[in-house]
Symmetry: C2
Subunit: 560 residues, 2 copies
């Protein structure tokens, strides 16, 4: 014992923990653990653009901090197969080229993604089992099972000479999960008994009292609905929620309903899950989408992608009457087996309205909460995690600031010393030594935006321009000037888009032309920049006064 | 009795009911009642732009249908002083120039609005009392009290020779409202006894079970919070919710807290309400905002506008640390006494996060529902309204389609013949005759958008352009061509905004210039339009292939 103390005192190593995403935004999860010459990364997810990021497809973590440390990175550990934990891999993995570790289903979903980006030859995902220990430099990593809204989710216990850190990933304590693999409380208790230095825990649902309900409560509800329904039952949910889809198929089989899968993501996820043995059903239960109209309505279930009313998704197209194979019939029952995620409330409601207009009966979260449960643990579960692992330090992760703070307050009330709780924002560096833990500055991060083929080429300047263009449109002025004399040749050309309807704005345009001509200084032009600025300046003032709008004014001076 | 029957049979008149807004969108309430040569209008509200209406300030009802019928319009009856019921008056009243009728507080709030638009000389609002009968052509209108989230709200009983229509406006059955003026159940029962032909009823909360809680349950909650709080209490709510503000002031007085009002709308609404006697408090309870730092924190309440996190609102500026007079101190308690309205969830959450970061404890709807009640009646109240008025026909109004349908289903379950229930979308015409009621076509309506000083000058073309500009930006190509020979003079000019960061896109721009030069057909130009189209076509293809983006390409050909 004394020796151990002595050994411990000799440890000079520092462990750094840096969220490159996840904290303060929920999505875009990526966490760096750095111990001396070794770095491991947990998760590599995509984020969603916020409402100011016009035209952006997705946001990925900023790995600037890692660029000069590539040779130190020993691996990327993935907790589960949701987009916000794996979605940035195709963008980041080619640059880092380090091994990836994931459980079987997660690896299967990653491989689909790598294939889409033609990267499957270059990268290999190592399949791991919970309980298996992997040595990654001075880190020893061991995955432990957690239940979540996708099968095969894990957290990681990460041991260094300084102590053990428990990184939970997303979790709930579902005691009766559909895949019969609950969160491994025994392992967590064992870790707690051996001593946990720090707990990095999911905090998303820290605002909710009690325990999140079990996923398995859904299937009886599907059965009740199918028993009552005289027409088709149309269920929409997240296509990654394989347990939910499994329950929908199970209930359908019990009521003699065939099942059609609608939507590319729904089909491709089911193929992977079935190939890997996570969902089993006889072939003849499935109906091809082309053949659904031949099936009696009371003998058919449709499982449809697009529960968030994403534009272009199967459900949105159905609601708009624009799906090639599926149209709504009076008597159809549509069940939203998913809550709208923040920011999607309006489009989801619009889809509900449109489905109702088409004659469907629609069940959604404003009417009942019986058809959806969350994949994240509520307050009592966060407290259970604390109680099992008994950490010295607590770091809430993967929540908005208010949710991380809420978890911190709950933990303080439960007796954790508030000095030992750290709320980290993206890029904050938390440093552990044998003497304690402290915030130690931050690494710079910015939003790396993906737009079409471009990764990171759209920055703040471009976004600011898009915002102005979106709000007020653009006015382009082309004025031709004789180089030798500085006089304006002919009429200026005025082109505008998104400002006013030009065909009805003739008088305004005439005034603009006159103003442009007057704004050109007399005499030979020596400074073209000055001429442009002068035109822009007078035009902006004039247009604002006339319309109280501030379109972007672009001026091109052509010299001849 | 026999005579009455005979008289009734002689009635050849038709009553038309046309929602020009409100139905299918909740806001932008405006309803037309037309009986032969007389038209009356109920409400004239503004709507909010949806997420596709870039740069639009507000949407107002389309009154095209009324333009050739102005001489028939006998008046505009206003139900209450919320923006979505009065906000379009300054835009529509000058064109219609008809008398407006409203209760005292509502008239006061309309006058503030007219003053802002310099219309107070031209228009006069007639103040009416509940119970007073007004003859408007062949319509007899009588206002009856309803409780809502603003004092002095009314509905109207509208009688024509065909029968009586009850137009509820927004309502709940609050039996203990703060202004002590509950919905007039006796009057409604009397109308029901005399015979109601049609009930046009608010349907917004038809998804919610039971009764909406009484507004007066809030004050004790404020008191509990103030008793417990050791620092400042900061309450944010809708500035039109005068009863809520009254309760906040009342609770503050009881705990010896002075009150500061923060935000222009909060101050101006309180001034009107106080002048007209709807809220009473001694002068010395108020603290000027410049002096709040001199007040001990435990003796101060701030009542702040911006509960929906509107950009530029007082609360948003406080949360961003950008308010001139108010900054958050650790120990401040912020209470959201308002739920986020649909579409505002994200900004509200961002404000909660920022207030939490600044050290405030924040209470909001995800944590507790104790600090807000709705102003709209839930299912049991809609059923009570039906039960009191016993209408032959039911028309749900002022709800989204799903909510109007839900009310219709509830009414059907309660025994109303579903053939006598009509769900109307904007512009639908419902026609009543002595023989019955039927849908009779529709009048054309479109979104009339207000953008700066322009009303209706931004239409679908401009909006479509703004959407493209927002998503992908703009590329402008200017190519100078010698008229006589058709050859390109010099290098084409390329200007772009919101597409890629130009300074880092030199190689792309060079390629674009080459492509433009190659796209100009050889020889003397006879068709400039053709040249432009050819450049745009080849450029769009090239840019999409290179970037998978589709910026708007504008081409100007300058001929010299």
């Amino acid at each position: 014992m004394k020796l151990e103390m002595k050994e411990r005192n000799l440890i000079r190593g520092k462990l750094k923990f840096i969220p490159l995403g996840g904290n303060g935004q929920v999505t875009k999860n990526m966490f760096v653990y750095e111990y001396e010459n070794d770095i491991i990364i947990v998760d590599c997810g995509m984020g969603f653009p916020d409402e100011t990021m016009f035209g952006i497809d997705m946001v990925i973590p900023d790995i600037s901090y890692l660029r000069d440390k590539k040779q130190k990175i020993r691996g990327v550990l993935i907790t589960h197969g949701h987009e916000d934990h794996i979605g940035a891999l195709p963008y980041i993995l080619p640059e880092l080229s380090v091994p990836v570790y994931a459980t079987k289903l997660t690896a299967g979903l990653i491989n689909v993604k790598l294939k889409e980006h033609n990267l499957q030859q270059m990268m290999k995902v190592n399949v791991i089992e919970p309980g298996q220990r992997i040595q990654l430099g001075s880190f020893q990593a061991e995955a432990f099972r957690v239940s979540h809204s996708i099968p095969d989710a894990v957290g990681y216990a990460l041991s260094t000479p300084l102590g053990t850190t428990v990184h939970t990933g997303d979790y709930k304590f579902d005691m009766t999960p559909v895949d019969e693999k609950p969160t491994d409380t025994a392992k967590l208790a064992e870790l707690g008994r051996r001593g946990v230095m720090a707990l990095m825990s999911d905090s998303l649902r820290s605002e909710k009292l009690g325990f999140t309900l079990s996923e398995s409560m859904i299937e009886p509800k599907f059965e009740e609905a199918m028993e009552e329904a005289t027409g088709r039952v149309i269920i929409t949910t997240f296509s990654s929620n394989i347990s939910r889809v499994k329950q929908a198929i199970g209930a359908s089989m019990r009521f003699g309903r065939k099942v059609a899968l609608v939507g590319r993501s729904m089909e491709s996820n089911l193929i992977v899950a079935r190939e890997l043995g996570y969902i089993k059903f006889p072939n003849d239960i499935l109906v091809r989408i082309e053949n659904i109209e031949k099936q009696p309505p009371s003998k058919l279930t449709l499982i449809v992608a697009g529960s968030q009313a994403q534009s272009g998704s199967a459900l949105t197209r159905i609601a708009n009457g624009a799906h090639k194979f599926v149209s709504i019939h009076p008597g159809d029952l549509v069940i939203f087996s998913a809550d709208p995620i923040p920011g999607h409330e309006d489009p989801v409601h619009e889809v509900v309205d449109n489905l109702t207009r088409l004659g469907a009966r629609v069940i959604y979260s404003d009417i009942t909460d019986e058809f959806h449960v969350s994949g994240h643990g509520a307050q009592a579960e966060l407290m259970l995690m604390l109680n099992l692992t008994k950490p010295r330090y607590l770091v809430p992760i993967s929540g908005m600031y208010r949710q991380m703070k809420r978890f911190a307050d709950l933990a303080t009330n439960a007796g954790v010393d508030s000095k030992n709780i750290f709320i980290l924002e993206e890029g904050n560096v938390l440093e552990f030594t044998k003497d304690g833990a402290k915030l130690d500055g931050e690494v710079e991060t910015s939003n790396v935006m993906v737009d079409g083929l471009g990764v990171g080429d759209v920055g703040d300047v471009v976004l600011r321009d898009r915002r102005v263009l979106a709000e007020e449109g653009v006015v382009v002025v082309i004025v031709t000037i004789k180089k030798s004399t500085g006089e304006v040749v002919g009429e200026p050309d005025i082109v505008s888009r998104g400002f006013v309807y030009m065909k009805e704005a003739e008088p305004l345009i005439s005034e603009v032309k006159e103003l442009v001509k007057k704004s050109v200084p007399a005499g030979k032009v020596s400074n073209w920049h000055f001429v442009r600025e002068k035109i822009i300046d007078s035009l902006e003032k004039f247009l604002y006064q006339k319309t109280q709008r501030r379109p972007m004014v672009l001026t091109v001076v052509v010299e001849v």
